[in-house]
Amino acid sequence: MKFETPLVGADEHGAGRLTRRAIFQSGALLVGAQAPLMAHAQATPAAAPVAAELPPQRMQVQLQINGQAHHLEVDTRTSLLDALRENLRMTGSKKGCDHGQCGACTVLIDSRRTNACLTLAVMHDGQSVTTIEGMAQGDTLHPLQQAFLQHDGFQCGYCTPGQICSAAGMLAEARLGMPSHVTRDLDSSNVALTDEEIRERMSGNLCRCSAYPNIVAAIRDASRERS
């Protein structure tokens, strides 16, 4: 593998940051360069003062995932997302930003939609988690999955598991009469899921391919099927 531009460039925000140019110019980056990148990240700790560091702490946790009990031992730092993906190898839930901004990691915890990247596995001991792997009933797709297929609600598909889990949680919230930012009448507990409502309620799920019109159409259809 040959890089024509240095992978790690200096810019005005400080030395040693990976430049966007370098990322775009090195097509094979994601496959080839992860190891050097991670080594680099470890070599330059952040500016926070370094106190005597604790060794990693491990704890037992039991999670009910898609109806099945899983006992695992995790580093306390493990996010629920990493527990799913790395410890349990359930890679349906995606890691996009890892900071709660993109929604690709959305799962249902005790039926409520949540960013799995912004919560710790140890905080959910004994709770039940539904991921995209648990949406279908055997070979029968969940109505939302079917609707996403019918409406072509994706292009690359990376955000799709989060979109579908988020939509499932959102439809449950709407059925409970929970209002949104665009709900005109706060006193009414009947939520009419207009496209405006769907868009607002789904704003925590980004789609870089911008399949939004088809995502909205899929959710609109699935919501009518269920009601």
């Binding site: 926070a48 560091e53 960013n115 919560t119 710790l120 209002p179």
Partner: protein, 327 residues
């Protein structure tokens, strides 16, 4: 993320005692704390999980108000029938913030304690007095579009990011806490957050380990409740300027108007003298503009955020106008 030990607290007082230890932090929804821990801006060595303490009910308070448990999630608070009916400004503010997923996790107490979204606070390669006291403020001469125009200091021009806190301020909410010593106290929301001064690393007047147990609301206030938020996107973005208002008016005459502002300062901003200028007046543009003068007394921009001064005037104008007409 730095390694940490983890415990689940049994009672609020035990949580307070555990969190008072050096290096310890409480974790509730965790949506802000974990974000900051991943970037090593927050580096606790011990986490005290308060998620199973209860404190998740909304109950009638004294004098006809409501008592909101510190662990009531933002989405549940916004959807509560009593809040929607009697404290609509609070529902509206909550629904204007974050995303559905985050509101499901974020708590009433945690929302008050969220840290600024100043880019330089987040960028560990740049100086920031809030993150590292004495290192300087990169925002003063930097890209400061989001930053404060009121109450700032030469140490810090960060803003408080919460929408909910702005509504709490207009409602004159009170924050109930328990100390590690088990002593309880009540802090008026006006005294809860601090201006940066020379100690921008201290956001609130809570003592080490002091835990929020509830936020109480006074009896419902008459008038039309509005929360208007101006931001770069239609959804899921922090406020450039926001106004929480409760306007009691009829036939174009304003009986009373309460207003609090987000996006302007290191804490939710409220100027009672501006409210006095509106009380008893007939609504017109000049009156609201005079109220804006009072709100903006001493305001200054730092370059990129100069637009917030005229934006505040226009936002207040339309907010009061709409509220008075629908009241």
């Amino acid at each position: 993320m730095k390694a940490f030990t983890y415990e689940r607290a049994g009672t609020p007082a035990a949580a307070a005692a555990a969190a008072a230890r050096p290096g310890a932090r409480m974790i509730a929804g965790g949506t802000n704390l974990l974000d900051l821990m991943k970037l090593q801006i927050e580096t606790p060595t011990h986490l005290v999980d308060i998620n199973r303490l209860g404190l998740d009910r909304i109950e009638p308070g004294e004098n006809g108000g409501l008592r909101i448990g510190a662990m009531v999630r933002n989405s549940d608070l916004a959807a509560d029938a009593r809040i929607r009916r009697d404290y609509a400004v609070l529902s509206r503010a909550l629904l204007a913030g974050a995303s559905g997923q985050l509101r499901n996790k974020a708590t009433t107490g945690g929302n008050l304690l969220q840290r600024t979204r100043c880019y330089y606070f987040y960028d560990t390669a740049r100086p920031c007095n809030k993150r590292q006291p004495g290192s300087g403020c990169a925002a003063l001469q930097g890209y400061n579009r989001m930053h404060a125009v009121l109450g700032a200091s030469d140490q810090c021009i960060a803003t408080h990011p919460s929408d909910m806190a702005v509504a709490m301020r207009v409602l004159d909410a009170q924050v109930e806490t328990v100390m590690p010593s088990r002593t309880r106290r009540v802090i008026p929301i006006a005294d809860f957050h601090r201006l940066p001064g020379n100690t921008p690393h201290i956001d609130t007047n809570l003592q080490p380990g002091e835990m929020i147990t509830a936020v109480t609301l006074p009896p419902p206030l008459p008038g039309h409740h509005v929360y208007r938020k101006v931001r770069d996107r239609a959804s899921y973005a922090f406020a450039l300027v926001s106004v929480a208002a409760i306007v009691d008016a009829s036939g174009g005459r304003i009986r009373s108007a309460r207003m609090a502002f987000g996006g302007l300062a290191h804490k939710p901003w409220r100027v009672e003298a501006a409210e006095a200028r509106l009380a008893g007046t007939v609504l017109d543009e000049a009156t609201v503009n005079a109220a804006s003068d009072t709100v903006l007394a001493g305001a200054r921009g730092f370059g990129h955020n100069d637009f917030k001064l005229p934006l505040l005037r226009r936002t207040l104008q339309i907010t009061i106008d709409e509220a008075a007409r629908t009241a």
